[in-house]
Amino acid sequence: MRRIIAQARKELTQIMRDRLALVLALLLPLILLFLLGFAISLTVTDLSMVVQDLDQTPLSRQYIDAFRSSLTFRVDPWAVSEQPWKALEDGTARGALIVPEHFEHDLQRGVAVEVQILIDASDANTANLMRGSMTAVSQSFLATVLPKGAGPPINAHERLWYNPGRESRKYVGPAVIGLGLMLFPSLLGALAMSREGEQKTILQVYASSISAHEFLLGKILAYFIVATAEWVLALVASYFLFGLRLAGDPSPLLVGTVLYLFTAVGFGIMVGAAIPNQAAAIQSVQILGFLASFMLSGFIFPVSNIPVGLRWISALVPARYYIELSRDAFLRGAGWPAIWYTHVMLAVLGSFFFFMSWRGMRRMQVEA
């Protein structure tokens, strides 16, 4: 135990002396949190749409005002002489609405009115949301214009649970923390380990009285401390930036974070032990750790959308389990009964990475 602590102290001293690494460790996670938290938002507001009002009556203007007052759209008038799809072609607008002549007249007579809507579908997801939103606006407009209406046979009341305001930052926030904690602690671990291999200092370790697992645990402990500091910083930042609050029992989150940080550092050490070249180790962490955590963890789009052939890979991505458990802790608050398996999986993956780094280190010593 004394030797583990000594090893950890040596590592921490090394980090403190390397300014770039220190900045990388503490500042970058915050920058990433900030960037991803603000840049990734799928619920969009202020989408520009052009409107051609061929009717020019109070009712048609009221209809257009309904779009204007919705947060989703920004309405720009469009000359009647111009073709509306021109606005979509050069990207000045994402949608176009054409209100036909006799709009008011037909509505008052009780005739069905056909309005034409064009949507730029090159961004499929936004187009899908726009389609729904434009229909909703038309519908509520009609409801306000018509004083009485008979109800439909079945009326579905929608209740949004856990995130009633549909704030996507609350969805992205916990996941970004998970992503940052996967990337930076493992990067530091990989750098430290591959440096030993690159500079052959691993031979000195071999010659000293410290054993392989003590050496590894010492390294992991050091970066675990750094990672915990990152986690606390990220939590404080997301408290203010995204308004994240714990939704229930904090113990699953605490235990899960400890396991996850051990797994993340262990992953980095494993990569570093396997690749005794710092530049190559960085690249591998970037591709294996970051990209896999970014794409295959349910970060934005659910894991169930990934094609079956690729989906099994996501079972090996630690970030997937941590994102799940932190979303539960911050939004759902179901606690242990719902997410115990994430802890089990994290523990399994963490031990696997530790075992692999132990083996990698043995090989490194033989080769050095």
Partner: protein
């Protein structure tokens, strides 16, 4: 005189380029790393970043236990979006399933569901959505509303015998009962992209108008009595049968293929990022091994050295555009509706911008390791603040102008213009000009830094 000078410079440039080419050829890892990761990334991004909602786990509380309620549940089950996972005896149990994450959506059918339908009253059902994932919840809500909507139409079109037996006046008073405003929580989407909105779906006049679209204008009250379902409007205003049919045309991508959007954006990110990484690496390699001093001792000028270094890399990186195009065609059936020349040209500008970033980074760092760590500061903003994978409108207002200096933003607009919209340079020239400007500025900065460092 100038001509002669230029020719001399050209002569010296070629051997230097030959040296670089030979170095690249020997470095097989570089060639592989330029082709393999982009292919994998484009394929995985194209498949994985897919917002389409299918197979949502649905839990049902059916307190009505009637034919009508079973019909509603099976309507949900038949759609591709939902998958009935189980029945619960109370909404508390259902809520527990949702909170444990066993379910994504819950449907609660009240005890009086069938009875209310029989009496032609509005029967309320509850749809509970796990809104942790805002995007999925929003889309799922739309689908649920669509299912209810089309079931409503079916019920209205096929009036039950009891309805026919009931006197029209009785129905009218029921239907006009307050508390059932026409507005519903979510818009119903019809699969073909067109939808119809009516204040009262029970009004068969509306449905008929949807079907016919050019039916005769409805007659006043006398005509209504003859058609039982319309009888509900007896005491309503004539206007209450009005409806707005929104004919929605999804331009450029009617199948809503998100992969087309992702590929055109991701390619820009890859070109800039790879350009910067590869050029930084090859610059630093000369620095690390000290061979840059040997090169400087030769009569070649700093400009010649840089140009000779970057030209082969430039050509190599252009190969990525070809790789991305091939993957796009073969895997995702990406269309090309405009000029490929414009597309490749703007891609080349992206590569130049990337090379500019890379060589600038190289002048600030001493080792490969440092350069790669620097990349962590540069890459996330370039890829995130570009509108390449997420709409720029979703970002905070004050952050949006920052994206204007991002080459990836302009490239993805051009790429989508060419590939999906089929527009030409007459529409896209502002973005092309900005892209040229960005590339020129970045190259100028990098050569200034490079010369300063060598001087």
């Amino acid at each position: 005189m100038k001509d002669v000078l230029e020719r001399a410079m050209g002569l010296r440039l070629w051997p230097l380029m030959a040296k670089e080419l030979r170095q690249i050829r020997r470095n097989r890892r570089l060639v592989v790393s330029l082709i393999l990761p982009p292919t994998v990334i484009i394929i995985i991004f194209g498949f994985a970043l897919n917002p389409e909602v299918t197979g949502l786990r649905l839990g049902v509380v059916d307190m009505s236990r009637s034919t009508e309620s079973r019909e509603l549940v099976s309507a949900f089950g038949e759609s591709r979006a939902f998958e009935v996972r189980g029945y619960y005896s109370s909404s508390d149990e259902l809520g527990e399933g949702l909170s444990k994450g066993n379910l994504d959506i819950g449907l609660v059918i009240p005890r009086d569901f069938a009875r209310k339908q029989e009496r032609r009253q509005t029967a309320d059902v509850q749809v509970l959505l796990d809104a942790v994932n805002t995007n999925t919840a929003q889309i799922a809500g739309g689908y649920a509303a669509l299912i209810v909507r089309s079931l409503n139409e079916k019920i209205v079109k096929a009036p039950t015998p009891t309805t026919a037996a009931q006197p029209p006046s009785g129905q009218a008073s029921l239907a006009a009962a307050p508390g059932h405003p026409g507005a519903r929580a979510e818009p119903p989407n019809l699969p073909d992209g067109s939808m119809q909105i009516t204040p009262d779906s029970q009004g068969a006049a509306a449905s008929q108008q949807t079907a016919g679209s050019s039916g005769p204008p409805p007659a006043p009250a006398a005509g209504l009595v003859t058609q039982p379902p319309i009888a509900m409007n007896v005491n309503g205003l004539q206007m209450s049968r009005a409806s707005i049919i929104t004919r929605i045309a999804l331009l450029f991508n009617p199948g809503l293929q998100n992969s087309w959007f992702i590929i055109t954006g991701t390619l820009g990110i890859l070109l800039v990022l790879n350009g910067s990484l590869v050029s930084a690496a090859s610059m630093i390699k000369e620095k690390e091994t000290g061979t840059i001093d040997q090169l400087l001792m030769t009569p070649a000028t700093a400009t010649e050295i840089t140009v000779a270094k970057m030209a082969p890399l430039f050509v190599l990186l252009l190969g990525q555009i070809a790789v991305a195009l091939v993957v796009g065609f073969l895997v995702f059936a990406l269309p090309v509706r405009g000029s490929l020349v414009l597309f490749v040209f703007s891609g080349a500008l992206c590569v130049l911008a990337g090379i500019g970033i890379g060589t600038t980074v190289a002048t600030f760092t001493r080792s490969q390791q440092q350069a790669q760590l620097m990349a962590f500061f540069i890459n996330p903003p370039i890829s995130m603040l570009s509108g390449a994978t997420y709409p720029i409108e979703g970002m905070p207002k004050w952050l949006q102008p920052v994206t204007l200096v991002n080459p990836v933003r302009h490239f993805s607009i051009i790429a989508r213009g060419v590939m999906l919209k089929g527009v030409g340079i007459d529409v896209l020239y502002p973005h092309l000009l900005v892209l040229i400007g960005i590339a020129a500025v970045l190259i100028a900065i990098s050569s200034w830094r490079f010369r300063k460092q060598l001087g």
